[in-house]
Amino acid sequence: MMLCRPFTTAVILPLVAAIAIGHGAAAQSATATPLATPPAQTPSPPAAPATMPDAPLPTAEELFAKQAAACGGDEAFAKIESMTSKATMKMPATNLNGTIVSHFAVAPAHGKDAGNVAGNGRFVVLMNLPGIGDVRTGFDGTVGWSTDKVLGPRLLEGKELEQIKTDSDFRRELSLHKKFDSATVAALTTWAEKPAYEVRLKGQSGDPQREMTVYLDQATSLLIGMKMLAQTPSGAVPIETTVSEYRAYEGPAGKIMLPAKTTLVWLGQKQILEVEEVDFDPIDPTVFELPEAIKALVKARDSAPPKPEAPANPAKAPADTPSPTKTNIP
């Protein structure tokens, strides 16, 4: 959906908020496990890796260099300053279908050659889901935000903000090994029934949430799978991604390959994203302006006194407050 990236975590934020449905009231999709219906279907065996398992594995540098070339090359991506994509989102098991429009641009302050740096871009993702309405998520180079009717307007903080900064570098997946402290090619295995190299990426802090495992198609060198923890309003959620289709687009400096069909699975939920249109035209800067509610939150945050180390709980009753059950109600 966004250059070589299969998705941004923005597309699951509102869905996590909506997953826990009430008593006969609302639903999200569950992964529809193939059902044991007669006659049982025998799954086709995964394709065998093209090389012997004990053959020497390529290095991560070699694999990511091939991936970049397969996507169209670093040069082709370096010339891209903006991109708009339109996609559909389906959760087939539960009949929940929506649309996603994403706008990405390199932030003016960073210039067009400033790729591969977290926080150097800005983006807005607008989802529309029947029954939920509009869900907008964005990053303007400084402020990460989200607004929808389920949770209300929010400023993203902590790990969510870190993640959205990372998401704003929309060329990130082209040189993933440079973004982590270590990149280890663990095995030649299979992903989505294709022979693929499993590459484990680890961050500096040893924080498991800064780890990611990616799968690069042995035949095409394209990224076809990812496992990671996505930061959501409700904490970190394990997510698996499979790219089952790429499509070629004519970019400003030549042909590039972008994910066209991506399936996300998280907490047993399956979400399919299919890109319908992509263009690289300049984007009206007002698209990236903060919504009024977010501006108000920024103002409130900036004018708030520093938080004490152990914030008091003004709403909580004092310890000596009798419980209502013990109170003699007139």
């Binding site: 009430g22 059902l35 007669p38 098991a93 949770l151 108000a296 709403a315 109600i329």
Partner: protein, 480 residues
Amino acid sequence: MAQFRSVPRILRAFASLTAAALTACSTAPKSSADARARVPPALAYETFDAVWTTIDTQHFDPTHNGVDWVAVREEFRPQLDSVRTDDELRALLQQMIGRLGQSHFGIIPAHLANPDDMTGVASAASDTDESSGGGDLGVTFRLVGNDILAIAPRIGGPADEAGIRAGWRLLEVNGRDVRSELMPDDAIDAPISAMLRYVTNQTAATRAIAAPSETVRLVLDDDRGTRHEVSVTAVSFGGEIVKFGNLPPLETHVTERTITTPQLAAAGIPAAEADRLRVGYLAFNIWMVAAATGIDRAVDLHRTREALIVDLRGNPGGLGGMAMGVGGHFLDRDDSLGRMTSRDGAIEFRVNPRRVSADGRVVEPFKGMLVILVDPLSASTSEIFAGGLQELGRAVVVGETSAGAALPSVAVELPNGDILQHALADFVTPKGNRLEGRGVVPDLPVTLTRDSVSRESDPVLQAALRYIAHERKRRVHSDG
């Protein structure tokens, strides 16, 4: 509490409490000629296997709540040979699912989930003379002891205009004797008592329903035993009908008002105190996004009140995430209302402290007293919200113990077009307490009796108002 004699039938027909709740909230017709359509054997097997396998692989508890799920399959699958119609298939599936003894497992008939007519109500085809409901009679009927009583007829509403008074006992609906369906508690198996308690209450609450503009003939008696035959014509709630995924179209409506001085006085609060007390009231029938704007507006309107009552009685739940958004109106910190855990991971119900008003002004979350009203029909998201804020010390819960049906679930389509709602996660409160099967136990429990309802019209609300007045007085004295 009494149970309905027809509970086994109700369980089949309503496909457990899940569908019972949906039936109550949905605007879709309650029955269809499709129900008696023949189901091809291969499709019946396919649908059965889909239900069994989904629960087998996705139930949050690999032990299936201690039920031998394989044995259950072996017991029920052979019975498919005698299944001929969609209704029979649903009954069999529901019976199988019922072995789990948990909420949020149920079959929603296709015609309920996806009616041809989204507005559903009066125009949708039905092959029975049962009303599809969806209209507002201006009164709540609740099971109290062995009786179905009229609670708090709205002044000027259809029931009030027809002369119905609080505490009157419902005897007949359109010539049908509703009392003959009662039977003693001890006929109900203990392991599924929470489910049956909910279904029984739900069934009692929906004996008298009507579509907007539809007239229902009721027979009631008052506390002196005098029979009253009345006709009540329902009006529209004026809510928004929403469709979310595989779920039936659901009407969402929000009620907001300021409690008046006479209402406070009616609760027994001395006039001098009532004059100084400012209490807001907010109720909504389901946790769907369509209610969010009304909720936000109500909180804005009552932000400076000393207390706000959030009435979740009869609210069966909805989008779980909304508890986080609405919870943020009342918490100034990003606490968690609880945690749901599935086989694949866990997420917290972290609130989003709401520091901006609906019209974009910087505000603080509501800081006054928060009182939440619950009853046996408050379920799921309502319980997550009430139980979470109660344990965080932010809300006082008043009323009757809630449903004890708090398992996050999803609704997936089955091969025959019906919908399987199934729980995919367990839920615990901030202190690690399960609400499933237990419910939210009020801080201030109120036991309804015919006498109290006749006397006070709405004893739970009255108790809440007295608590607020009492607590205000205590705080004033405490502050010197």
